[in-house]
């Protein structure tokens, strides 16, 4: 079932309530057992429902990688773009149609390696986007290479002797660059993640949520987290919820607590679009004064 229902109609009884959001004819999806992308999208769709956003107004932009494929599975306007460029593509849509709810959901490699520059500048401009990063610490789609988020010492197919590069602390990066909402959850904290996404959906400006997400196949198996639920167990045992935590202190380090929570909320800052409209008014007033 793709777009066979007009929004406002109730889904038929036999469907799972979330099927309303899916292009069911595209199932099964490509994701592996134990992957956290599905739960993240589930939390996102539930949050959209809970906030009451019209499905026709929802835009899902993704980049390249495992998570990039998500935009083709949800029954919304879906744009599967190039590697790293989901954010500027989404900015183009949002600025032209500011009434749309534009979301970028992509992976850590896409958003923070090849797309890192676009991420920080989008934060700085405070463009109206919700950006969700499913961070699985690795390049999953290409077979398990080092990412900008791989913890120190971890193994990947391109760090066969262990990683020597410190990873990005992505909530800190977003915070320092000016994002108005910054949170971190994991894909096993589905309810809390949903609440956080709903909170972010109600705000304007650049909102960022990092979702730590298991990749048993390409991250876990090279890092002593081989079983399908090993990473989920690590998340469960090590996570500590600390709302409002100083983002400079939430770096992910193996053997240390994983700090989760809603870290940053800046409500008074005008979004890029609001600034743009202000500017237009100023230009108009100046033109009228000249007459």
């Amino acid at each position: 079932m793709s777009r066979k229902m007009i929004s406002g109609e109730k889904p038929p009884q036999e469907l799972h309530p979330m099927d309303w959001w899916l292009r069911s004819e595209r199932m099964p999806h490509i994701w592996c057992a134990g992957c956290g992308i599905g739960s993240t999208l589930y939390a996102w769709a539930r949050a959209l429902d809970s906030v009451g956003i019209d499905k026709e107004k929802v835009v899902y932009v993704s980049g390249i990688g495992c998570c990039g494929r998500g935009s083709g599975y949800l029954d919304v306007d879906g744009f599967h773009t190039t590697h790293g460029r989901a954010i500027p593509f989404a900015i183009g849509i949002k600025l032209v149609k500011p009434d749309l709810c534009v979301n970028v959901i992509s992976g850590d490699g896409d958003l923070f390696s090849i797309g890192g520059n676009h991420f920080i500048h989008a934060c700085r401009r405070n463009v109206d986007l919700l950006v969700i990063c499913t961070n699985n610490f690795i390049y999953g789609m290409t077979g398990g290479q080092l990412a900008a988020t791989t913890p120190l010492g971890d193994y990947s197919t391109t760090t066969p002797y262990g990683n020597i590069e410190p990873p990005f602390n992505t909530p800190h990066l977003a915070d320092a660059s000016g994002a108005v909402y910054v949170a971190r959850w994991t894909s096993i904290h589905v309810r809390l993640l949903e609440k956080s996404i709903a909170e972010a959906l109600r705000m304007k400006g650049f909102r960022y949520i990092e979702v730590l997400s298991p990749c048993p196949v390409n991250y876990g198996r090279r890092n002593r987290l081989r079983e399908v639920d090993d990473i989920a167990k690590w998340f469960w045992k090590s996570s500590v919820i600390k709302h409002g935590a100083d983002t400079s202190e939430v770096q992910i380090e193996k053997g240390k607590p994983l700090i989760l929570g809603n870290f940053v909320k800046r409500e008074k800052k005008l979004s890029y679009y609001e600034e743009l409209k202000k500017l237009e008014e100023k230009v108009k007033r100046a033109a009228e004064a000249e007459k």
């Binding site: 026709e56 083709g72 744009f79 790293g84 460029r85 183009g92 849509i93």
Partner: protein, 383 residues
């Protein structure tokens, strides 16, 4: 609201004419990144857009600018970016996405000397083959090349119309000497400017398939937020827009993406022919080199040399039928270019077996003079 179409006579730089041409064509979204010698386009638009309700945004790089104009087009705006060679090299990534997603948009390349940083402030025509082949994979491209501020204005409008009609990113392939020469530009009344808009779906959302083409091979385009659940990807895809990474899907899609241009060559290709009736020699040129080329033809005609001029307005798709036709009549084509032989190769290929082809190359930095082209015409006419 400020005036959108500045009807009347102006004395404009080519770059200003391009910006005003875009505005007259209905462009209301511009994303760019500063680069010499194209920056005046972005600067002018940044001043004009707030007056007329357009959106100007300067991005962190050309990768982002190109991605943003695609997104803007999906939201329904006529969009544009402008750059020069180094920036175009970055844009080809998402230019390919525009081809694959079939997105109407316009990319202006004010060519400067290359390779690499090359001659930032000086002219060249070195990006002709890059315009055609810059992004990976097989695709056809439409690129128009203006020779003056007036033509820069006119062809910018035509670029938008072609982009909308064929659902492709279209290139305005200008050069520094066009961007930075001032000249008279006549802007017609708004109602005399013919504008084309992309085809919209005529079926309800439940029957709409994102990539089901009509007979002309072009699929109608639903926009973001219209309830059609647009599904689009840079991956090889089927008519629904769903990824289908099979040889069969590739065969079908890539053939159609190319054929939607190839099968409309008659409508797209545009050349200007002068003095060709009895010509034994034809000078083939494009962009600002067309001006010294025409002058050289005039000088040679005064000497009694039977020479004519073929000016390519569409550099791509290449005017292959035109060259093949004249190759039966002329003995020789002379191709002056600000590079070491790019369109020359196309002319030579089409003329092969019927006529010779001679290249008059300059690597850029300055225009070729009429005298230089004239000397070449004289030399070959004496053979």
């Amino acid at each position: 609201m400020g005036k959108t179409v500045l009807t009347g006579k102006h004395f404009w730089y080519g770059n200003i004419a391009i910006a005003e041409g875009a505005i007259a064509a209905g462009c209301r979204f511009f994303a760019g990144y500063p680069i010499t010698p194209a920056s005046e386009i972005a600067e002018h638009i940044s001043k004009r857009f707030p007056e007329i309700g357009g959106i100007f945004i300067q991005f962190e790089d050309e990768l982002a600018a190109m991605a943003a104009i695609l997104g803007a087009s999906w939201a329904g705006a006529k969009s544009m970016t402008s750059t020069s060679g180094p920036g175009f090299s970055l844009m080809v990534e998402n230019f390919g996405l525009g081809v694959m997603m079939e997105v109407p948009t316009v990319v202006v390349n004010i060519q400067r000397g290359g390779p690499s940083t090359g001659l930032p402030t000086l002219t060249a025509q070195g990006d002709v083959m890059q315009a055609k082949w810059g992004s990976h994979g097989q695709y056809e491209v439409i690129a128009l090349s203006p020779d003056s501020p007036q033509e820069a204005f006119d062809l910018t409008i035509r670029c938008f119309n072609l982009a909308e009609k064929y659902r492709v990113p279209v290139i305005l392939l200008a050069s520094e000497t066009v961007g930075h020469s001032a000249g008279k530009v006549v802007v017609p009344p708004e109602d005399e400017i013919e504008l084309i808009d992309r085809k919209k779906p005529t079926v309800p959302p439940e029957e709409y398939l994102s990539y089901m083409p009509d007979e002309d091979l072009i699929p109608p385009m639903a926009l973001a937020g219209e309830g059609y659940a647009v599904c689009t990807t840079g991956l090889t895809h089927d008519e629904k827009g769903y990824p289908d990474i099979s040889a069969e899907a590739q065969e079908k899609l890539v053939r159609r993406l190319n054929d939607k241009i190839r099968k409309h060559l008659e409508e797209i290709v545009d050349v200007e022919e002068e003095n060709m009736e009895d010509a034994k020699i034809a000078v083939v040129s494009y962009g600002q080199v067309s001006r010294p080329a025409k002058r050289a033809v005039k000088m040679a005609r005064e000497e009694g040399i039977k020479v004519g001029s073929i000016k390519l307005i569409t550099v791509w798709p290449f005017a292959e039928n035109v060259i093949r036709k004249w190759a039966k009549q002329v003995e020789l084509f002379v191709v002056p270019e600000l590079n070491y032989g790019q369109i020359y190769l196309e002319v030579k290929r089409e003329a092969a077996g019927d006529a010779e082809t001679v290249l008059v190359p300059r690597m850029g930095g300055r225009l070729i003079t009429p005298q230089e082209i004239y000397q070449e015409i004289k030399k070959v006419s004496e053979k």
